[in-house]
């Protein structure tokens, strides 16, 4: 059996290091991609509001709220460590 899966402290350290890599490298990019796509969606909703006489106002408001929350989270994640 692999050493990193055999003993409990080793397993904890192995999992912990994997999590740390996710938080340091991966999470930043995933949130950025989400922000990009939601900005495009809001643009689309604005145009659809113009075309369909403001039916999509509710959806656009929901999208803006999601954008605000994601943006806050993105800023929280990308704060430099002092």
């Amino acid at each position: 059996m692999n050493f990193f899966m055999d003993r409990t402290p080793a397993r904890i350290i192995y999992r912990l290091s994997a999590d740390q890599i996710v938080v340091d490298d991966k999470l930043n990019d995933t949130i950025r991609e989400g922000l990009e796509s939601i900005i495009f969606i809001i643009g689309g909703f604005l145009i659809l509001n113009y075309v369909y006489y403001g039916i999509f106002v509710i959806f656009s408001v929901i999208a803006i709220v999601i954008l605000y929350k994601l943006l806050n989270f993105f800023l929280m994640v990308t704060v430099p460590i002092v």
Partner: protein, 231 residues
Amino acid sequence: MIEYYIKIQESMVSFRGVGNSRALEYFWKKHNNYFQNCLTHIMNHCQRWLGCRIALFNAAWLFVCLMLPFLSLKFFPQIFGEDKNWKIPLGLSWSFRVVVLTSNFVNQLANITNDLISVKRLEEYFNLDKKHDQGKRDRKYQRLAISPSSNAVEFKEVNLTINEIPILRKISLFVGYKERVAFVGDFSSGKHSIFKMIMGIYKADKYEKIEIEAKKTKKGRKNLKTVIASR
């Protein structure tokens, strides 16, 4: 790259007169690395192009969606030209685009939630309590009728002898709730015996006061057992 090219040319010159399959085989074996390098080079280029492809596709689609009403007016004036109703193609194109983008966004949200699991695990591991968890903890103490400032483990002038050998003499120890304590000392100085006394494996001979809050509840006793099991 240039070195490899020269080597191949030399080998081609040397095997020009032979002209059989064995020569080709030898050639392949000799310069296998070169072909592999070429392949990796091409693959890297392809990967970079694929990375750009999504952004390019997105930009092209945006351009088409913006230009579609004008194009439709120009090329299909019989359909859209009479009423100048250019909102129909614009609405159709953008609704389709928004649907695709939302599906993409849902996938990305799934990725984010997947990553957040590791964040939660790290928080649990490092005991990174948030501000709003303070009230929750206080309520827990209220339910158990224990104040957080009181001691979880309390020893006062405890003596321990095993097989008529004195091991601990007049020891007093106070450990609070959620407090982390390290036992540091020399070899066979009695760290482990204190630990076992808290568990209840060893019993003290003379003592003024011994109080262990964890033993009063069923859950606490269970937790102590798990600590023994992990040793």
